[in-house]
């Protein structure tokens, strides 16, 4: 498996293989094909950043452009899922969830429970997340905690191309509604990815670096910032263990607790706003279930409690940095009971 592809290509390949394998898999979204109704090229866009480019040519019946009506088409994906299809709907930016959240959290997420178990809603909602694109306050949010909060939803946020492909295929095969979060600043990131179709199970975190002095729990882009911090810390003799959650719901607390039991220290890194986020979630669960193992306070590294600023200099300060993560690790290492 020497072939390297980008996370963007991994998404494309996963969709391609899933559609080829199962005709009930259909993709829908704004300009995911492009050029509809016009006199120029069809497949003119392949999504706003070209992620789905080329899929229309291969699966013309399974690729649908939509009007600019997220409530209607995300809801339609959900309704179709309840009627035997396996739709993959693209919500271009997760920031747009505010115009269609009801369909996701009150409908898709609750059907099975409200209907006494007699419903399946195998829908996937793909969306771009995260800051660093100079896209300002309404196109740069993480918002994963809002979805992880909701019982009935599954939430996935991969950090690399390999996980992306395996988790996206799993999301499509999964019978529950899945929010699949793609970090726009990781699309170009490459790694080795098998050509054949494969899945990665939900609820299995990945230890991307082993270490014994402190555990970092994180996901998405922050995995890479944490790796950078770990490299700096290693030079200081501090060996950090990094847990990449991969799926935020379900959550692999076993791996987290095991790691913290080993290292005795924890830093939670989250690109989401600080209040009620994934970092507080992990911290709280560790403090409840592995308090005895903790040698010092748990540190959290998050952006400040502000919207995402536009100006590149401000945005760079907004996003948690490797330096901030390293500082947090040093702090908990200095801390004690």
């Amino acid at each position: 498996m020497a072939r390297k592809i980008s996370m963007k290509q991994a998404v494309n390949e996963a969709l391609d293989q899933a559609m080829a394998a199962d005709p009930t898999v259909i993709c829908m979204g704004e300009d995911i094909v492009g050029g509809a109704g016009g006199n120029g090229e069809m497949d003119a866009w392949g999504g706003v950043l070209g992620v789905t480019k080329g899929l229309y040519a291969k699966h013309p019946k399974q690729m649908m452009d939509t009007p600019l009506s997220e409530s209607a088409y995300i809801g339609a994906a959900i309704g179709a899922a309840a009627c035997g299809m396996r739709p993959v709907a693209e919500l271009m930016f997760i920031d747009f969830m505010g115009v269609c959240f009801d369909q996701i959290f009150n409908q898709a997420a609750k059907f099975k429970y409200m209907f006494g178990g007699k419903a399946e809603t195998p829908v996937v909602i793909r969306c771009m997340v995260g800051a660093g694109f100079r896209a300002a306050a309404q196109h740069s949010q993480m918002l994963t905690p809002l979805f992880a909060h909701i019982p009935g939803l599954k939430v996935v946020c991969p950090s690399n191309a390999y996980d992306t492909k395996g988790l996206l295929i799993q999301s499509i095969r999964d019978n529950d509604p899945v929010i699949f979060c793609e970090h726009k600043n990781l699309y170009a990131h490459e790694c080795e990815v098998p050509e054949a179709s494969y899945t990665i199970p939900f609820g299995e975190a990945n230890i991307v670096r082993e270490g014994k002095h402190c555990t970092i729990v994180t996901y998405g882009l922050m995995v890479h910032r944490s790796l950078d911090a770990a490299a700096v810390l290693a030079k200081e003799g501090v060996e950090v263990e990094i847990v990449d959650l991969r799926t935020l719901s379900p959550l692999d607390m076993d791996t987290v607790l095991e790691s913290v039991t080993k290292t005795g220290r924890l830093v939670c890194v989250d690109e989401a706003s600080p209040r009620c986020n994934i970092a507080t979630d992990i911290s709280a669960q560790v403090c409840m279930h592995a308090f005895g193992a903790l040698k010092a306070q748990i540190e959290m590294v998050t952006p400040p409690h502000t919207p995402v600023p536009f100006s590149p200099v401000l945005e760079d300060m907004y996003i948690p940095s490797a330096a901030q993560i390293a500082t947090a690790v040093r702090k908990t290492i200095k801390g004690s009971k």
Binding site: T24, I26, M64, T66, P67, S69, S71, A72, Y73, I74, G75, A76, A77, I78, G79, A80, A81, A82, C83, G84, M85, P87, V99, D102, Q103, N106, Q107, F111, K112, Y113, M114, F115, G116, G117, K118, A119, E120, P151, G152, K154, D174, N175, D176, G203, P250
Partner: protein, 328 residues
């Protein structure tokens, strides 16, 4: 002497329709009484008075046809073939109810009958039924989707977006406005800026038609045409059914927003069941005693359903955390 049947339905079908409408009526009248007694928990929105619309539309549908219902969903459920005893158990919050007690009045669903759920969120059925219709298009068996919504919900963005989406994708969907003149206590004329739903539909490129929703045959005919059109690939349309609601918005509503005498007039002159009964007996193809016999049988069924519901066990702690995910 053989009487000619002037109706587009056979005698048996007519009896079935009458029974269905009477079942809805008795179901609701009984809930009204039992709610008043404190037997029934939660918010309960009754469909009584509106039966002809549910029956007139659903007569054209099979289990493969999907409907998205509203907070006022009992009538849709019964007309779509959901089991009445299961429904009653559900409303009582019991095990063995349509949703095992987890959904209640506002969330009764039975996907096996094509009933995609009553819904506590106004307008939420619009997008969902577009999805059902999209799936039908892929299956290509001529199935349709029906989206019920009230005059109030007609102003929800979800419904409006869905009309456009259905047009863009040419989906086999019928948007049925159940116009009972009120959204909670607010008059339709206050909340909806346009006089005619046919104009509203035209704003999305959809053909629209308005009928007297208390006249079973009027609804049946109009629905038949738009459903046929949708089955044949002709695309979406809108059907406005003008109707009346007998009880308050929900149980407990004193309806002081109605004009004096309004309710009396409704019950006396706009009783869709009486209208249908009169039509059938006047045509001479069904006798009053046959109808009375059905009425009595329905009473027995409803009484039975209440007994069953009261006797059924409640769910237990083990049920609390099941059915959230298929696996997690």
């Amino acid at each position: 002497m053989q009487v000619q049947n002037p109706f587009p339905l056979s005698r048996d079908e007519l009896l079935t329709v009458y029974r269905q409408m009477r079942t809805i009526r008795e179901f609701e009248e009984r809930l009204h009484i039992d709610f008043g007694r404190g037997d029934i928990p939660g918010f309960v929105h009754l469909y009584a008075g509106e039966e002809a619309t549910a029956a007139g539309i659903m007569h054209h549908l099979n289990d493969g046809d999907r409907i998205a219902s509203t907070h006022r969903g009992h009538g849709h459920c019964i007309a779509k073939g959901v089991d009445v005893v299961g429904m009653m158990k559900e409303i009582y919050g019991k095990k063995g109810g349509s949703c095992n007690g987890k959904g209640g009045s506002m969330h009764i669903a039975d996907l096996s009958r094509g009933m995609m759920g009553a819904n506590g969120i106004l307008g939420a059925g619009g997008p969902l039924i577009c999805g059902a219709a999209l799936a039908a298009k892929y299956r290509n068996k001529g199935e349709v989707g029906i989206c019920f919504f009230g005059d109030g919900a007609s102003n929800q963005g979800t419904i409006l977006e869905s009309m456009n989406l259905a047009g863009v994708w040419n989906l086999p969907v019928i948007f049925v406005v159940e116009n009972n003149g009120y959204a909670e206590s607010t008059s339709r004329d206050y909340g909806t800026a346009v006089d005619s739903y046919v104009d509203r539909a035209a704003g999305f490129g959809l053909p629209g038609v308005t009928v007297d929703g208390t006249d079973f045959f009027a609804v049946h005919e109009a629905a038949g045409a738009v459903i046929k059109r949708a089955r044949e690939g002709g695309g979406p349309s809108l059907l406005e059914c003008k109707m009346v609601r007998y009880f308050g918005h929900f149980e407990g509503d004193a309806q002081t927003y109605r004009a004096p005498g309004e309710l009396d007039d409704i019950r006396a002159n706009h009783n869709c069941l009486k209208i249908l009964g009169d039509q059938l007996t006047a045509a001479g193809i069904i006798s009053q005693s046959e109808l009375t016999k059905i009425d009595e049988e329905v009473m027995v069924l409803i009484e039975h359903s209440v007994k069953e519901a009261k006797a059924a066990p409640f769910p237990t702690l083990a049920d609390l955390t099941t059915d959230v995910y298929i696996n997690y």
